[in-house]
C-alpha cells in the first residue's frame, strides 16, 4: 500500500474547558479525497488550523510527506506543499483577483524580495495566474478587486490561489459554503479532477458533494472521530445517522 501523504496522530486541542480536538487520527492517501464532516462546532476548522499551522496542538503529531510539522509556521508549511482555503474567504481585498493569484505564483517561485521589475509587466507571473483564473472560471473577472467580487467568486478565487501554489495536498474548509446549487455542482466536478493533482482533505457541509466526491469520510463530533469509512459505510452507520445525518441520508 502507498504511504499516506498526511498523517495526523492522537491530536488534542482544548480551548479552556472545551476539547475542540480530542484524540484525532486521520490519514490522507495519495490521489484521494478524504471528507471530514460533522455538526457545527465539532472542531473541523480547528483541525484544519492545526494542520496548516495557525493553531498549535496541545498534544499529538502531524507528519506531512514524512516530515514532522511541529515547529514549522504557516508560511513554512505552505512552502512545504500544504495549501489551504479558508471557510470565510481571506483575500488581499484591495488587490484584483489576478494580483491575488500572482502573489501565490510569486510565493511559489520564492522571489518576494525582488525590488526592481514591476509585477504588472512580469509575464512569468501574469501568464500562469491568468491560466489558473481561466481554469476556475474567473478569467473574465481578473481585474476586479477582491472586495468587489461576489461571494461565490471569492470562493473560486480561494481555490485559484491554492492551485497556484501547486501543493502536495489541499486543505479545503467548506469550499462550497454559500455557493448555491449551480456553483456547488461546478465546483464538485472541478474537485473531482483536482484529486489527481494532489489529495484533498475536504471539510464540507454539502452532503450531495461529499457523497459524490469522497473516497473516505471521517465524522467528527465534539472533537472526536466517531466513524471513518467509505461513503456506503458512513451512510449506513447507525451512530452517524443519529449524531449527524439525521433522517436526511
Amino acid at each position: 500500500m502507498a504511504e499516506p501523504v498526511l498523517t495526523i496522530r492522537e491530536l488534542e486541542k482544548s480551548f479552556g474547558a472545551l476539547k475542540a480536538t480530542d484524540g484525532v487520527s486521520i490519514d490522507l492517501m495519495p490521489g484521494e479525497i478524504h471528507a471530514l464532516i460533522g455538526p457545527n462546532g465539532a472542531g473541523k476548522s480547528t483541525l484544519i488550523h492545526q494542520v496548516s499551522g495557525s493553531i498549535k496542538p496541545d498534544r499529538g503529531t502531524i507528519h506531512f510527506l514524512g516530515q514532522d510539522m511541529a515547529g514549522l509556521d504557516v508560511a513554512a508549511r505552505a512552502r512545504f506543499g500544504l495549501a489551504r482555503s479558508f471557510q470565510t474567504s481571506s483575500l488581499a481585498q484591495e488587490f484584483s483577483a489576478l494580483r491575488n493569484v500572482m502573489l501565490a505564483v510569486q510565493a511559489k517561485q520564492g522571489s518576494s524580495l525582488r525590488v526592481f521589475r514591476p509585477v504588472m509587466r512580469d509575464r512569468s507571473l501574469i501568464e500562469p495566474a491568468l491560466a489558473i483564473l481561466e481554469r476556475v472560471g474567473l478569467a473574465g473577472r481578473a481585474h476586479v478587486p477582491a472586495a468587489e467580487l461576489s461571494h461565490g467568486e471569492r470562493r473560486q478565487l480561494e481555490i485559484a490561489i491554492a492551485l497556484a501554489l501547486e501543493p502536495k495536498a489541499f486543505l479545503l474548509d467548506e469550499p462550497m459554503a454559500g455557493m448555491g446549487p449551480e456553483g456547488s455542482k461546478v465546483l464538485t466536478g472541478f474537485l473531482d479532477d483536482l484529486r489527481h493533482e494532489a489529495p484533498i482533505l475536504l471539510v464540507e457541509h454539502d452532503m450531495d458533494a461529499v457523497f459524490a466526491l469522497a473516497d473516505r469520510i471521517s465524522v467528527l463530533v465534539y472533537g472526536r472521530i466517531i466513524a471513518s469509512g467509505t461513503v456506503e459505510e458512513i451512510r449506513n452507520d447507525p451512530e452517524v445517522r443519529r449524531a449527524y445525518l439525521g433522517d436526511a441520508a
Binding site: S90, A92, S96, Q106, S112, V115, F116, P118, V119
Partner: protein, 327 residues
C-alpha cells in the same frame, strides 16, 4: 481606472515642477528665503517618503521615525564637528565634510539601528507597535539630551555647511537642487518598490497578513526589510535637514517630529507616490503663512487634518486623483 491613474500622474508632475520652478524663480529674483522654504519642504517630503514605505505600503504606523531623522542629523552634525576641530572621527578614521560620505554614514547607521528596533517592534501590531516604536525613539531622544560631548540638550551647530564635490553647497539654490535630486531618487525607489514583487508582498501583508502566510511568504521578513529601508531614507533626510539648518538638536529626535511625519503623509495621501510631497508643501506653507499671522496656526492644521480624516481619506492627492487602484 485609467482616468484616475492619468489624473494622478498629471498631479504628480505638477507638484514636481512647482517644487522645482518656485525656488529657481525665487533665486533668479534674489529671494533666497523662498529657496530655503522649498528646501525645507523637499527635505521633509524626503523624510516622509521614507516613512511612506513602512506606513503607506506596509501599514506599519511607526511613531518613532524621528529616531532615524535625528540619527541622520547627528551623523552630519558629529562628523562636521570633528572635521571642524580637525580631529579623527571614529576608530582613528579621518572625519570629513563630504556629503556623500556623511550620507552613507547616516544611511548605514539608520539601517543598523532600525534592524533591531524593527525586529522587536514587528513582533507586535496595532497600538503596541505604535507604542514600542515611540519608546525606542524616546530612549534615543533622552540619550542625545544627556550626552554632553555632542551638545546635549543645546544641540550641535554646524559652522560651515558640509560639502559636495563640484557643488557650492553654501549657496541656497545648489543645496536645494541636491536635496531635490535626493527626493526624486527616493520617489523613484518608492515607485519601484511599490510595483515590485517585494511591494506586492508588503502591500498584501497590510491588507491581509493571514493570506500572505498562507501562500508561504513570512510577513515578518517582508515588513522588517521595509522598515529598515524606510528608516534609511528618513535618515538621509535627517542629514540634509541638519545641513539646511546648520544645526542639529534633540528636537529632531522628539516624538513631535515622528507625529509631524505621519501628519505629512496623512495630509498628502497615505501610500501615494507624491503624498509626502503634497503633504510637506501644505504643512510648510501653512506653517509659514498662517504661522506669520497667528501663533495658533496649528489649530488650523488640526482642523484640516480632521477634515482629511473624516471626509478625504486619500488626502490631497486622493481629492485630486480619486481612489487608488491596484492592477
Amino acid at each position: 481606472m485609467k482616468a484616475t491613474g492619468a489624473r494622478e500622474i498629471i498631479a504628480n508632475a505638477t507638484i514636481a515642477l512647482l517644487l522645482l520652478a518656485v525656488p529657481l524663480a525665487a533665486s533668479a529674483m534674489g529671494e533666497p528665503f523662498y529657496v530655503t522654504l522649498a528646501t525645507r519642504i523637499t527635505i521633509l517630503a524626503l523624510a516622509a517618503a521614507g516613512l511612506n514605505i513602512a506606513l503607506g505600503l506596509g501599514g506599519l504606523v511607526s511613531f518613532g521615525h524621528a529616531a532615524f531623522f535625528g540619527l541622520g542629523g547627528y551623523a552630519a552634525g558629529i562628523m562636521a564637528a570633528h572635521a571642524f576641530n580637525a580631529e579623527p572621527f571614529f576608530l582613528g578614521l579621518d572625519s570629513t565634510t563630504s556629503m556623500p560620505v556623511i550620507w552613507l554614514v547616516a544611511i548605514v547607521t539608520c539601517g543598523l539601528v532600525a534592524l533591531p528596533i524593527g525586529a522587536i517592534s514587528l513582533r507586535t501590531s496595532g497600538v503596541y507597535f505604535i507604542m514600542i516604536t515611540l519608546a525606542f525613539a524616546q530612549m534615543i531622544y533622552y540619550f542625545a539630551n544627556s550626552w554632553p560631548a555632542y551638545g546635549g540638550q543645546d544641540g550641535l551647530p554646524i559652522f560651515i555647511r558640509n560639502t559636495f564635490p563640484g557643488v557650492n553647497t553654501a549657496q541656497p539654490l545648489p543645496f536645494f537642487l541636491l536635496c531635490y535630486a535626493a527626493l526624486l531618487l527616493a520617489l523613484l525607489m518608492f515607485w519601484s518598490l511599490r510595483n515590485s514583487r517585494f511591494g506586492a508582498a508588503l502591500q498584501a501583508a497590510r491588507q491581509n497578513s493571514v493570506r500572505v502566510s498562507a501562500v508561504g511568504i513570512a510577513p515578518f521578513n517582508v515588513r522588517l526589510v521595509a522598515f529598515v529601508i524606510s528608516a534609511m531614507v528618513t535618515g538621509l533626510a535627517g542629514a540634509l535637514f541638519a545641513d539646511l539648518n546648520r544645526f542639529v538638536s534633540p528636537s529632531m529626535l522628539s516624538w513631535h517630529m515622528s507625529g509631524e511625519l505621519i501628519v505629512l503623509i496623512v495630509l498628502g495621501g497615505i501610500g501615494r507616490l507624491f503624498g509626502p510631497v503634497a503633504g510637506a508643501m501644505l504643512f510648510v506653507l501653512l506653517e509659514h503663512f498662517l504661522g506669520g499671522v497667528t501663533e495658533r496656526w496649528q489649530l488650523f492644521l488640526g482642523l484640516i487634518l480632521l477634515g482629511v480624516v473624516l471626509f478625504a481619506r486619500g488626502g490631497l492627492l486622493g481629492m485630486i486623483a480619486g481612489k487608488a487602484r491596484h492592477g
